[in-house]
């Protein structure tokens, strides 16, 4: 076997790939060859390390040096200094990983300190395109244990006892779902995986598939054994090319090793897995629409009941779980249900992966034990709000969720607490907003999204959300009336109550929750025709203050000649002609132009 004295791990997640990690890998290949150490130093392309903000990320072992924001031009120095001479290039390390010139372990860094990785256990640790690396970290051991030592009832009992709940957003107890499918009558059953992650700003499932695809494959085989299915489908959106590719490679390798296919572990259990690509419609994340789409039909929901556990794919009992839910399964089998149930809160066990985005310093992927507070996630792990701005709210649950304000930052995160606050866990998108965000505009953004994504099957969602969006447009344009706010609320309640599927039933949530916590902002738009955050274009006018020195830079920048004034004298803006493009604000060296 080849011996390597050092491993260079390069993040190959979508985030780091788009910021150039492939060119970094190429540069390393070149440098290692140049210095003739390619047989001593191993290059490994992994999944997401989580700290996307600091990407592209390169970690060098055995030292565990955590290099951040690496460019191809830095590779020569890392190779010559670190790999050749053993001197860690401290100025390229992630800044928090260096204290008084001493390198700290990355687990000491604030971003990682409070995390606990179960679903993301191997993301950023293994090469996802090499099944033996997964096996080295106890991969497929859970499947082996289940097939050789446990009855189907034992497996279901273990999942029930672990307290695992669906990570796709609903939070339904996973063990119960397995039991229903197990008990359902049918000559043929199926196991399916929902990897149609559609919330804007969410990338948890993508990262699991990119970083550790075998954990999902193994879990689906375990599920197949437990419920009595020998065929599985992973429904993943074609918009995730890296994830699809790695999953495909993983499935092929698993077949090669006989971990998928016939007579697995010599126990007579057969299980096969196929990928089904989705076209990226949000509604296909809804379980019945997803099943329709797998069957090759138009991705539209069907009424429940019957639930998929009774009548799913091709009318056969089907177990459908989300990617992250599956990723927890092998760990529960290996470490025991009690171990898993020991993490988290009373009713929400285990950990949850979140994709943290918006106005936050450490944009990225994190996994925390349930019960961690929002404050810890945003201000400790997330590193707070950039530019010293004030925190305003955090949106959880994407377009189906709601916002949570500063008053509730100390709420421990779990399914029930978030629902009590008028939001929801959702699949794990977490978008942070600061004082510069207009909450009416945010609600409008999410509604615009759901109107686009509504499949059109049921009228409350098709017509109702459209009417809501029109009212919001009116309000943000300064044409709103007080009764519009009441109308919005009434519509929202009706749509929630009468829509066919989860998309429509939750679509009004962003509006309802912003109305609950930020009604004053709605009223400012309607009554005073003013946008307090200075976002809604129609309600803003541009003015020049006394700070103006008459430098004329703004007059040159203005595309519509709306600014006039003599050199070295106070300029003025003609608000009639001004198109509010903001070009003058960017140009003014004295910050003399304000929006109000």
């Amino acid at each position: 076997m080849e011996l390597f004295r050092s491993h260079v791990l390069i993040c190959g997640g979508t985030g780091c790939t788009s910021s150039g990690s492939i060119s970094i890998e190429d540069a390393f290949k070149e440098e290692l060859a140049k210095h003739n150490i390619a047989n001593e130093v191993k290059l490994v392309r992994t999944g997401c390390f989580g700290l996307c903000e600091a990407g592209p990320i390169v970690i060098v072992y055995p030292e565990g040096a955590f290099y951040s924001r690496i460019e191809a031009k830095d590779v020569q120095r890392i190779t010559e200094e670190h790999l050749l001479k053993g001197r860690i290039v401290t100025d390229l390390l992630f800044k928090e990983a260096v204290v008084e010139d001493q390198v700290r372990s990355i687990n000491e860094v604030d971003f990682y300190k409070k995390q606990q990785r179960v679903a993301l256990r191997l993301c950023g640790v293994i090469n996802p395109e090499d099944i033996t690396e997964y096996i080295a970290f106890d991969g497929y051991k859970a499947l082996g244990k289940v097939l050789t030592e446990m009855s189907r009832e034992d497996v279901i009992e273990a999942i029930k006892k672990s307290g695992l709940r669906g990570r796709g957003g609903g939070g339904f107890p996973t063990g119960l779902k397995w039991e229903f499918t197990y008990r359902a009558q049918g000559d043929q059953k199926y196991v399916a995986c929902n990897a149609d992650e559609g919330d804007p700003g969410a990338f948890m499932d993508r990262s699991v598939l990119e970083g550790d695809p075998h954990s999902v494959i193994e879990a689906m085989a375990i599920a197949g054994y437990a419920v009595g299915a020998n065929q599985g489908y992973v429904y993943v959106r074609a918009e995730y090319p890296i994830a699809v590719n790695r999953l495909q490679i993983a499935i092929e390798q698993a077949k090669e090793y006989g971990l998928l296919g016939k007579n697995i572990f010599g126990t007579g259990f057969d299980f096969d897995l196929e990928i089904r690509l989705g076209a990226g419609a949000f509604v296909c994340g809804e379980e019945t629409a997803l099943l329709n789409s797998i069957e090759g039909k138009r991705g539209m929901p069907r009424p429940r009941p019957p639930f998929p556990a009774i009548k799913g794919l091709w009318e056969k009992p089907t177990l459908l779980n989300n990617v992250e839910t599956y990723a927890n399964i092998p760990q529960i089998i290996l470490n025991g249900a009690e171990w898993f149930a020991g993490i988290g809160t009373e009713k929400s066990k285990g950990t949850k992966v979140f994709a943290l985005g918006g106005k936050i310093n450490n944009t990225g992927l994190l996994e925390i034990p349930m019960g961690t507070t929002l404050r810890e996630v945003i201000f400790e792990i997330g590193g707070g709000i950039p530019g010293g701005k004030a925190f305003k709210a955090v949106q959880t649950g994407g377009p189906s969720g709601g916002c949570i304000t500063a008053d509730y930052l100390d709420t421990p995160i779990d399914y029930d607490n978030l629902i009590a606050l008028g939001s929801m866990m959702g699949s794990g998108g977490m978008i942070v907003m600061d004082e510069d965000n207009c909450m009416v505009d945010i609600a409008r953004f999410f509604l615009d999204f759901t109107v686009d994504e509504s499949c059109g099957k049921c009228p409350p969602c098709r017509i109702g959300t459209k009417r809501m969006l029109e009212i919001l447009d009116k309000i943000t344009e300064g044409k709103g009336e007080l009764e519009d706010i009441d109308k919005l609320e009434r519509l929202a309640e009706n749509i929630k109550a009468s829509s066919l599927c989860g998309l429509g039933q939750t679509a009004p949530n962003p509006v309802l929750s912003t109305l609950k916590y930020f009604r004053d902002e709605y009223e400012a738009h309607v009554v005073e025709k003013r946008c307090p955050a200075g976002v809604c274009q129609e309600l803003l006018t541009y003015h020049i203050t006394d700070a103006c020195k008459g430098c004329t830079l703004c007059t040159k920048a203005c595309p519509v000649n709306a600014i006039s004034g003599e050199r070295k004298e106070l300029h003025t803006i003609n608000t009639e002609t001004c198109i509010k493009c903001g070009a003058c604000v960017d140009k003014c060296p004295f910050k003399a132009i304000i929006r109000k």
């Binding site: 076997m1 011996l3 390597f4 004295r5 050092s6 491993h7 791990l9 001593e40 072992y61 055995p62 030292e63 565990g64 050749l84 001479k85 053993g86 001197r87 372990s105 687990n107 640790v125 293994i126 033996t132 690396e133 096996i135 080295a136 970290f137 106890d138 991969g139 497929y140 051991k141 082996g144 050789t148 090793y257 006989g258 971990l259 697995i264 572990f265 010599g266």
Partner: protein
């Protein structure tokens, strides 16, 4: 996959490929790899150390490099850090000496006095 044993065997093999990436406490072997060390022949020593550790399947032992240790005339230099013990500095090393250090010091816990900096002239 025919049996659990087969999986365990694959795992055993694969572990050697990835154990470098785990966080370790244990013993640290550090080879001086500044210009002075490299020109005095530190690289073959580093590789010998890595090979020996792998061959003997030593857990909790890290082999890494460092910069100039300061006594360039005594290069190649190897330092051994064991938890709860004083650092031991070996000087004027070669691959043969490296193998003895692994066998006697790392495995059996007995410092090879004749190679240490204290014994150097």
């Amino acid at each position: 996959m025919k049996s659990l044993e087969e999986l365990a065997k694959i795992r055993e093999e694969a572990l050697k490929k990835v154990d470098l990436r785990s966080e370790r406490e244990g013993t640290r072997i550090v080879v001086g790899m500044a210009t002075c060390g490299i020109s005095a022949g530190a690289r073959p020593i580093l590789m010998t150390m890595v090979e020996e550790v792998k061959k003997r399947n030593l857990q909790q032992v890290t082999v890494s490099q460092t910069g100039c240790i300061g006594v360039c005339r005594l290069e190649p230099i190897v330092e051994v850090y064991r938890p709860g013990e004083e650092k031991v500095t070996y000087v004027e090393m070669n691959p043969e000496k490296a193998k003895r250090v692994i066998a006697e010091h790392i495995v059996n816990g007995k410092v090879v006095d004749e190679f240490t900096i204290g014994a150097a002239k």
